[in-house]
Point group: D2
């Protein structure tokens, strides 16, 4: 059985997903494509032997669509996810689940009412070989119990312009999610510290920033985020544990020596670093759709928590104070 | 169109290929399985929703087989490849193409007479991200023209027992192929030097050994091969060029510090190091089968050359002398 | 002219200094040794062709002592430094300058009144090739202006037992000093965060801890300190700048692969990591003594600032709040 | 007692040694300097508070010279070493001991007749922390018994112009010595292979070259030498053993990421790589002179063997054949 996927949004990330589904994932095909830019949808559809339609609703309703991939602008995610729930179709929704906490809660509540998990959120790092290997270190065969986690996250430039609040909601949200997943527990507080701005930082904004979370068991989680790191894209995570220390960096095969310098290339963009994560995420999702679940990736609950933590981080950034993170009880559906 | 693959040989490598074709490659399925061990074939077939048959010939003749994967014992490769040519079916044949030079030549000649390339040889390193990146360095943007190539190849233990001649034909044959591919030229000579044997080397055999090839343009290619490297599996390649030097090693995401030691895990087996190469090789092959070619991987010509070089290496090992490598003109089919 | 050094304190660090002065530094000799443990002083003196005396005062007053090395217990540093000032003899004083802020201020004031710099403080990291190279990166030829500094500091076990306040005064004080030196500016605040305690942390104490400083220009300086890092001793510093990023780690010549692991040895003790820094510090001090100054190392002012910052850090640890760091104007003597 | 050293030769390396002796080594001073360029000798002498003289003989005969450092042109080493033996003064002689095998033998014989070791040869790698640590790996606690040794040696450009025979005598001679020292045994054969020349190689010369030695116990020792490695200076050594593998490379504290590249600086010149080795060698030599021996560094015997192996390597380069290395019995003086 080949899973016929309807793709909503044919921008950079939507196109990358669609190409993977059509050409690199076993058991899936792209059947229908929608994009607000009709020409872009037509072109992608033609490329993949799919058809294009004029609205997202048509994708969700199509008989030849078994599952839906949402890669539309952030503000549309929640509404489309709700429609997918109504249609009873599995959906892989790019992060964030919603731009606002309330909207995220609405989607969560709707899925809880439905009583069935249909939404997987595209926090692809959970499928990245680096993070997967790092998580495996958190045992007595590895580094023991985690005590402190240090992350670094650098972008070469901000796709969204340099607004510090978006650094938190669009960029650091990846660390909000992946560190919960690594530690397998929630946060109790978040603090955002704004340092000396870099030369490309607009007046009134801050970059780099330092975010400090604390987990229920007390683990300190730091994130050094820098949107305008002109040396290149980089993601790293170091977990210090009771028995040892594990550091996740890049995995690079080739080192070059030239012109009195020896080292490796640093990418300009993030897509290459997580290409394998994206493919494995999609293969796992297609496999789960075929099997009727379970979905191993991030859930609507995870998407909701990310929205809450992002909002508390914004509050801390605005006030300069540590802000408590309080969550409702986790619904049994996500146990 | 889904390519239905018939699998001949359900041992370790055949099973790995079959699982990839059924579960991780876009556009392929496994339809028929044969193995001399009927139970093993039955089990794999059941796992993949395929059927098993009693002979390799049945696989080749089956109407529901569009293409064939040969992963039988080495001595059967050539005969089965010839049958595939007769059946006009594309084949991905595990290396070696043949155990003997004459047999390899016979397959090559048959394909030349047929006038159509149907055989791809499973030298998977050509699809490995490490070697692909290394080859990209061989330009003026990288390290310039290659001048000297140093390889190291260590196995934890020899699957075939420790016969030095098999080190050349089964293990170093990978370097014979990949360095021709890197340099894009043939060899003119090969020398095998036998050093101090390790403690696990049987009487009369040699391990480690040092193999030195020279290419038409004069590039020296060294291979340090060690079958009983008890520290783990390792493959490396360093190319020194007119402008710089590129070193291909392992790509590892996680470094662990524990017990006064900091470093990375070294695998015991080769499969993990080349898991991505195997998958990409299969995806490329399936894509080429669907498109009716061209096949980007190693050809029957490449398989023939590997057989010739292996035999000259054995001769050098026996005599202690440098041995010339002479090849017939490359048929136009492989231009 | 050979500088005859009187050594006060023949414990581990005092003995290490004395051996260097006698055997590895050009232009110095050890002439007199004092230790509260007379036998220890006798033994070291005999070893080095020096004589031992019964009090620290005798060392300071001795005619055959041109300069003094203070390596006594921390609580005695300030008093002995004052005596050295009275005697008008150059002194290399192990850190800290004093255990209390007031005592440190008293020494500083005495030197200011004297109007001549005689005290060098043993913050040896300023002479470490790693930190020296790191500081050289802070220019437009390197990583540009520093924006954020991340340090890690791990000890295998606490020589002083595990009292968190001593982690700040004895261990993190090294980062207090070296980051001021790197940035060439003072701090405005310090915050200490206590995370999940490791399994070896006594009740009521905290380890690891996270210390965050901010400099006058806004640079955030983090220190992850861990006293009971059972994997080994480690010091690291990463500076992220406007143009790039520089990371100082260990410098290790030999990598070993064994038993399915490849990596480097992590030392158990700090002395080896800084052996070269200690030697270079002593050579530079002896050269300066011979030349009558100037002293390139840390000054009494630097020692005083370290005492102030340590005390504010303790206050932050106790209250859980960010604490301002306020300093008197820097005396002109230290311009 | 301060050892007063007479320095013969005030070129680059002679000056570096003299500065170390005067300023960085405990227990030594430079008293007399000679150089064929009188102005150069005067200048260095004035710098160090020494006097200059008009002939090498005057240095050797001077009453205020306890020991001699020979850093004259290669062709003068043997003659001056013989004079030093006559004068009964300890000498640290830069490599090579002599340009010809016979001359080297004459010095060796003279020292044997004298019955006392006075000559230490400046093979400074034996004091390099990297090689010292590598040698420590050759035990059951490390990598077990050595089986194969791979060296790489790159210079940015040849100080002597690019004559291949000098690559062997001036550059690879370091590996001839250090690998004997690592393995603690002699060579039985040497083979030199000339590969594809780099673009800067003069007509009729070869660069890079590959040198292969075999030791008495059968260990294969490879040296990849490249005089015009435009990417920088590099020395490396990998020993593969019965239990593991040890690789000696550079030790670098700081990694820099900038302009989409992350890595370390590669030096242009060799002096920095071995600065510590030079200092430790001199300190050890001065200590031994003060103690009346024993000398831990390379001996006249080691210098003689290096001359023999270099000559056999030249013979192999000229003939293209493997050449046997035969040595007289080692005199008891060097047991």
């Amino acid at each position: 059985m080949v899973i016929r996927v309807g793709v909503i949004g044919a921008g950079n990330i939507g196109t990358a997903h669609a190409l993977n589904l059509a050409r690199s994932v076993s058991g899936s095909a792209v059947s229908v494509v929608f994009d607000a830019d009709q020409a872009r949808a037509d072109s992608l559809a033609a490329d993949l032997g799919a058809r294009s339609v004029g609205t997202a609703e048509e994708v969700l309703a199509a008989e030849d669509v078994d599952a839906v991939l949402i890669a539309s602008p952030d503000g549309l995610h929640a509404g489309q996810a709700l429609l997918a729930l109504s249609a009873g179709k599995p959906v892989l929704c790019e992060k964030p689940l919603a731009v606002g906490e309330d909207e995220a809660r609405a989607v969560l509540d709707a899925e809880v009412v439905l009583g069935q998990r249909l939404i997987q959120l595209g926090f692809m790092r959970r499928f990245d070989p680096g993070y997967v290997q790092l998580k495996q270190e958190l045992s007595d065969d590895g580094i023991g119990d985690p005590l402190i986690v240090h992350n670094l996250h650098r972008n070469t430039s901000a796709p969204y312009g340099l607004r510090t609040e978006q650094t938190l909601t669009n960029m650091v949200t990846h660390e909000f999610d992946i560190c919960r997943w690594l530690l397998d527990e929630e946060y109790t507080s978040v603090t955002v510290l704004a340092g000396r701005p870099g030369p490309l930082t607009p007046q009134g904004q801050h970059d780099p920033i330092l975010v400090i979370l604390q987990s229920v068991s007390g683990v300190l989680v730091e994130v050094e985020a820098f949107v305008n790191a002109r040396f290149g894209y980089e993601v790293g995570c170091r977990v210090t544990g009771s028995l040892g220390q594990a550091v996740m960096g890049d995995a690079t095969f080739v080192t070059r020596a030239k012109s009195f310098h020896r080292g490796v290339a640093v990418p300009e963009l993030w897509l290459g670093r997580f290409a394998e994560a994206y493919r494995v995420q999609l293969q796992g999702w297609v496999d789960a759709v075929r099997a009727g679940g379970p979905y191993r990736g991030a859930s609507a609950w995870d998407g909701y928590v990310a929205a809450v933590v992002s909002n508390r981080a914004i509050e801390s950034y605005r006030t300069g104070q540590r802000v408590a993170v309080e969550l409702p009880p986790r619904p049994a559906l996500y146990a």
